[in-house]
Amino acid sequence: MSEKKNGQVRIGVYICHCGANIADTVDVKAVAEYAATLPGVVIARDYKYMCSDPGQELIQQDIEEHQINRVVVAACSPSLHEHTFRGAAERAGLNPFFVQMVNIREHDSWVHTEREAATVKAKDLVRAAVQRVYFHKPLEKRRVPIHPEVLVVGGGIAGIHAALTVANSGKKVYLVEREATIGGHMAQYDKTFPTLDCAACILTPKMSAVKAHPNIVLWTYSEVVSVDGSVGDYKVVVKRKPRYIREDLCVGCLQCIDACVFKEPKFDDEFNLGLSKRKPIYIPFPQATPKVVVIDPEACIQLRTGKCKRSCLEACVERGAIDFEQKETYEEIHVGSIIIATGFKTFDPRRLPQYGYGRYPNVYTTLEVERLVNASGPTSGQVITRDGRVPKSVGIILCVGSRDENTNRWCSRVCCMTSLKLAHLIKEHTGAEVYIFYIDMRAAGKGYEEFYQRVLNEGVHFVRGRVAEITDWALDPSEEGKLVARVEDTNTGFVRRIPLDMVVLAVGLEPQFDAHEVQRMFGISCSLDGFFLEKHPKLAPAPTYTDGIFIAGLCHGPKDIPDTVMQAGYAAAEAIALADTGYFELEPNTAYVVEEECSGCKSCVPLCPYQAITFKEDKQKAFINEVLCKGCGTCVAACPSGSIRQNLFEDEEIFSEIEGVLAYA
C-alpha cells in the first residue's frame, strides 16, 4: 500500500459492542487491538454503542484531535447506520465518503455461535475495510428534485386514509383502485370491534370525501401496469379497464339494472362472496364510490355475442352513459412518491379438507358471515344457513390457516377479535349457542380485552383446542342432520363431539394473489411470508428499501383497522415530508467514463437498464447521465477497455478490499 496517492492517510477504526449483540459473540477488544496494528491505522477503539451521541462524538473528537482522515466503523448493517456515521464525519469537517462501515452484526455475531471464529471473521472484515478506505476519494452527494404529486395504489381503508391525508396537505394525489369501487374489505364488514361501530357508517363518509376532494384524482377499475424512474421522479402508467359506462355521464340512478334483459339476477355477486346474485350490469353495493354501474363482459349478452336487444340503452337514453364500444385506456402520470396499499386475501379453507368447506354447505368463512349478519347483506341481516335454517348452535374455529406449520405460520392478528364480534352478533341475531374453538385468545388492543370479557359474560362457550375435523357422521340421534366438531378440549382433557348447525372458519390473512408481481413492478421486497417488507421493523415500518415508495395496511402484514389507519397516516406523512423538502440526496455511487480511454465501441449503451448511457457522436465517446445512473455496475463490468469506473467501487478500492479479506492474519 502506498501513501503517496492519497496523501497522509490516518485511519481511525471503531468497533461497536451493540450492547451485547456483537460483544457477546465477537471479542471486540481483541478486534480493536488487532486493528491498531494495521498499516495506516492511527487509532482503534471499541465502544458500547457507537451510534449513540457519545459514540459519534468519539469519532468527531478523533478527527479533530488526532487528524483522522479515514473512518472505519465495525458495527451493524450500513443500511441502518451508514448515514449516521457519515453525518458524524461530515459534522467534524471530513468528507462523508471517507467513512466505511463493516457489518459485524448481521454478517457475523448474529449468524455465528463460535466466539473465536467469529472474532477472526470480524478481524478479516475490518482489515478489508481498512485497506479499502485507504483509497476512498472525496465525493459530493447529488440532489434530485421531488415531484410533489403522490400516487396511492389500492383504495381500501389504508389507501383512502393515506390519499385523504396527503390531499389535505395540499398535494395532488392519484388514487388507483383495481375494483369498480373503493372501500376494500372494510366495506364488506358489518360492525367493527370492539365498539361495534357500523363499518359502513364510519367508512362511507371517507369514501365520499375521496370522491369530492379537489386534490384527489380517483381512478377505479384501474391498475398500475408499469413504474419507471426513481424517488422524486416516478413515471407510472395506469391501465383504465373498460367498465362500458361513461363515468362522467352516469349518475347512478340504476335504472339500467332494472331494465336489463336478465329479469332475475343470475351471476355470483363478488361483494357478497357469492351468497347472492347480481345481473351483468350492476353496482357492487349501494354505497359504492364512485356511484357508477359497471358491466361484466363475461356475463353481458351484448358484449359476449353482440346479439342483445340492449334494453339498458333505452333506460339510459337521456344520458347515454352506456358505451359498449369502450376500450381500455392508458394514463401516464408523473409522481414523486408512491404509497402501496394493496391489501390482502383471505386463506382458502379448501386447503384444510378436514373442515369440510365447500363439501358441507353450512361451513362458512368469517368474511361470509360478515355479509350474513349485515343488514344490507344477502339475507338482510338474517342469519340463515345455506339450507335455509336459523342455526341453534354455531361453532367458530380459530386459526384456520394461521399459526399452523402446514399452512401459514404467522398469527393473522384480527381473527380472535373478529370471532368475538361475530359470536356476539350471531347470538344477538339468533340466540344460538355459540362455541369458539381457540388455541389462545389474543385480545391485545385498546378496549379489546374488555370486549372479550363482555362476550364471555354473554355466555359464549370457549373450548380450548384445535378442532380435528368437521364431520356429518352422527354417533347418536342428537347429532343427526348436524355437523359435528370433533375436538380435544385441552382444558378438561376430554375429546368432545359438539353438534353444530353452522360452522364458521376464522380464516387467516395472506398476501394478495399477485403480491409478487406488484413487488417486482415497484422494485420493493417481500419478507419470507410474502408480505411487503418495510425498511425497518421498528423504526421505519412504512418506508421500504426503495426510496420514495411506502407501504401501508395489510399488504405489509396482518393488522386491524386502527393500526392500518395509523400506518397509512404515517406513510402519508413521509410522502408529504419528502415533497415539502423538495429534494432527495442520492448516493454518489454513479459510473463515469474516462473519456481518453473510451474507444467508442458502444457496447455499454444497450446494456444500461436505466437508459443512462448515450453516445456522443461528436466526440465518439460514451456518456453517462449521473442523474439517471443507479450505480448497478453493469457497464463497468462490461466495458472491454475498462474505461468505465464507478464511484465507491473503483478498482483499487475493490481489489484492496478483496486482498484484505483474503490476507491471513
Binding site: P353, T471, D472, W473
Partner: protein, 302 residues
C-alpha cells in the same frame, strides 16, 4: 419368483396367518401386473406398535434387521402390505435418521449380526405402489372386467396415512377411491376412512373394540356401501370377524363383505376367486359369490 424382482415383499406375521388372503391377492395382482415380487428371505417380526411403545430402541433393532436384509438383496423397494409393518419400518427409519443414539445402537447391532449398514431402502405400501408406480391410467387400461352396480367404501385404517402422509393425504385420502374407480367400482364418499378399527382392542377390551367396528360398518351401510375395501390385515379381520356378534348385540342386519384392495384390483385384472383368497371371507359370503363368481352376467368384458 425371479431373483431379479424389483420389489421385495415383507409379509409380516399377519399375511401368513389371518391375513393370508391379502398375501394371495397381492401376489396374484402383482403377477397380473407383470411386476413380480420376491419375499424377503429370513425376515423377522416387525414388533408392531406394541414393541414400539415398550422400547423404541429395541423395536428399531427388530425393524432394522429386516431393512438390512432387504439392503443385502440389493433391492431398493420393500413392500410392506400390513399397515402396522409399514408404519413400524417407516418409523424406525425416521428414528435412526433423527436420533444419533438410536442410530449408533442400530449400527452396533447390525455389525454384530454381520449385516450391512442401513441405506436407502424405500419402504413401500401396495396402495401407493399401485398409485405411483402403476398409475391410474394403466390400471384402467389393464382392467378386463368390471363390477357393475356394486358400491364400495374405501377404508384406510389409522396407520397408513399418518403421520408421514406418503401413502396418501393424511386428512382427506382419495387415492384408493381413484384406484377403485379406475377398475370400475362405484365408490361412496366415506367419511370414516381413517377412523380406528380398534386394532388389538377386540382381543383386550373386547366391547370397545367391537363397538368401534360397529360404528364403521353402520356408517358404511348408511351411505349405501355394499362392501368395504381395506389395506390392512388387522382392519380387515376386525371388520370381517365380528359381524355375527354385532348382529346379535344390535339386531342390525349387517352382513357386509370386507375386501382387500388387492382382491378388487386383482379380480378386475382377471384373477380368479380362489387365487385371490376370496373364499376365505367370513362375512358377506353370498354377495361375494354372487359378485365374483356365479353372476357371470355382471361381468362386462372390456
Amino acid at each position: 419368483m425371479e431373483p431379479s424382482a424389483r420389489y421385495l415383499y415383507y409379509p409380516g406375521c399377519s399375511l401368513k396367518g389371518t391375513g393370508i388372503a391379502y398375501e394371495e391377492s397381492l401376489l396374484t395382482t402383482f403377477r397380473l401386473l407383470e411386476m413380480p415380487v420376491k419375499e424377503l428371505p429370513d425376515w423377522n417380526c416387525c414388533g408392531a406398535t406394541t414393541y414400539m411403545s415398550v422400547s423404541e430402541t429395541s423395536a428399531t433393532l427388530l425393524a432394522a434387521r429386516n431393512l438390512a436384509l432387504a439392503r443385502q438383496t440389493g433391492s431398493k423397494d420393500l413392500i410392506a402390505p400390513c399397515n402396522a409393518c409399514y408404519l413400524t419400518l417407516r418409523k424406525s427409519q425416521r428414528l435412526v435418521a433423527d436420533y444419533p443414539q438410536i442410530a449408533q445402537e442400530t449400527e452396533r447391532f447390525l455389525e454384530q449380526a454381520g449385516l450391512p449398514r442401513l441405506d436407502s431402502v424405500r419402504v413401500r405400501h401396495p396402495l401407493e405402489v399401485l398409485y405411483n408406480d402403476v398409475g391410474i391410467q394403466r390400471l384402467r387400461e389393464l382392467t378386463v372386467r368390471r363390477l357393475q352396480g356394486v358400491r364400495m367404501a374405501s377404508y384406510y385404517g389409522c396407520q397408513a396415512v399418518r403421520p408421514y402422509g406418503e401413502v396418501d393425504d393424511p386428512h382427506e385420502p382419495t387415492r384408493m377411491d381413484e384406484i377403485l374407480r379406475a377398475v370400475g367400482v362405484e365408490v361412496v364418499g366415506y367419511n370414516l376412512k381413517t377412523k380406528c378399527c380398534g386394532g388389538p382392542l377386540t382381543g383386550t377390551i373386547h366391547d370397545v373394540g367391537v363397538r368401534l367396528n360397529y360404528i364403521l360398518l353402520k356408517e358404511a351401510m348408511r351411505l349405501g356401501a355394499q362392501a368395504m375395501v381395506t389395506i390392512c390385515p388387522l382392519c380387515q379381520f376386525n371388520l370381517d370377524a365380528y359381524q355375527a356378534e354385532i348382529r346379535k348385540q344390535t339386531g342390525e342386519p349387517i352382513d357386509m363383505p370386507i375386501l382387500y384392495l388387492t382382491q378388487v384390483v386383482g379380480w378386475a385384472l382377471g384373477g380368479d376367486y380362489r387365487e385371490l383368497g376370496l373364499h376365505r371371507a367370513i362375512s358377506g359370503r353370498k354377495l361375494l359369490e354372487q359378485w365374483f363368481t356365479v353372476r357371470k352376467e355382471a361381468e362386462t368384458y372390456v
